[in-house]
Amino acid sequence: MCSTFAVSDRRLSSHVIEFPYTRSLGPVYSEFLTGLRDQRIIGIRNSDGSVLCPPTEWDPATGEALALDFVDVGPAGTVTTWAWVVHPTRKHPLSHPFAFALIQLDGAATALLHAVDAGSAEKMATGMRVTPRWRDERIGFITDLEAFVPLPLLKGESK
């Protein structure tokens, strides 16, 4: 409850409540993030033979546990859908405008959510080809992939 008498201006007080949290990764995410640290993108063989990336511990259709059959995918991939972020927040992967996109890496049947550093929304298109930009210092975290960047079209390829 606040009194209603007047004050000259409104003032804000900012607070951050923050604490570190650790979770164990299990056999599949551990492999995936170890791969990122080593500059590899790793998927897992699904029961139907397709490759899931990001890898999961379970067949998404049946819920059955998957054998730990890991497969390298990418590094390039195709944007299957995207959304342009005009005003990045403190927690976003890039401090300038970028796209969040689902990226189907070459060899995978599913798509990975990540950032595409395209410069402007006009450069974004579903179906565009992208390739990772890795951080120099990698620690086994999803942000070891700093972002994906548009891949120039190869000769003979059409948009």
């Binding site: 409850m1 606040c2 009194s3 209603t4 008498f5 007047a6 004050v7 409104r10 003032r11 804000l12 007080s13 900012s14 607070h15 951050v16 409540i17 923050e18 604490f19 570190p20 949290y21 650790t22 979770r23 164990s24 990764l25 995410y29 551990s30 492999e31 993030l33 170890t34 640290r37 403190r90 927690k91 620690i139 086994g140 975290f141 942000t143």
Partner: protein, 187 residues
């Protein structure tokens, strides 16, 4: 984005088995008028409280109400408080080195009952007094941050304090107050 606990040694080639990250809640709030006036007072070197018109207890930081009498208090109930007082209660904290802990040595947080017209500031820092010498009844005076360096950025609607304006409290050297005189005045 990731957190490393102090002294944690990471083998750069070992498999990554854990993920460290921050749980974070970031928010802004509009400071309510009562607290704004309290903060403005601190910037000017004054501690402002509210005295309940019914029970006459002094609340600092002011809240805009007396929770005992369930009465609204307003600017009309403002009182300028003393920046001297007496320790009514204290806690010695032995810092555990959790993430974000900046203290390394035991330190005391004291409740200071201000001289007339009264009011209680809790969780205050004591300056220049060894922890072992902090005691109930000790007379203290505020050490203000130089006016140009004062800040009220950390004063919110719920945790007021005086940090950013009052550096801490130092012993005045006056004789101690007998704890008997502090009965019913601890909070």
């Amino acid at each position: 984005m990731t957190a490393s606990l102090p002294d944690e040694v990471v083998d750069p080639n070992a498999p990554v088995t854990n993920m460290d990250y921050f749980m974070a809640l970031e928010f802004e709030e509009i400071i309510c008028p009562v607290v704004q006036r309290y903060a403005d007072g601190l910037l000017a070197g004054k501690i402002i409280g509210h005295r309940c018109p019914q029970c006459e207890l002094v609340y600092v930081p002011p809240r805009g109400y007396c929770p005992i009498d369930v009465l609204e208090t307003t600017e009309a109930d403002e009182v300028e408080l003393a920046d001297r007082g007496v320790v009514t209660n204290y806690t010695v904290v032995t810092p555990v080195q959790y993430y974000g802990q900046e203290e390394t040595e035991p330190f005391a947080k004291v409740s200071v009952l201000l001289d007339e017209p009264g009011g209680m500031l809790s969780l205050q820092d004591v300056l220049e007094v060894p922890v072992a010498e902090v005691r109930i009844g000790m007379r203290l005076e505020a050490v203000w941050v130089p006016e140009a360096e004062r800040t009220v950025a950390e004063i919110g609607n719920r945790w007021g304090g005086a940090g950013g304006c009052i550096l801490g409290w130092r012993a005045t050297g006056e004789p101690d107050v007998s704890p008997d005189q502090l009965n019913d005045r601890v909070f």
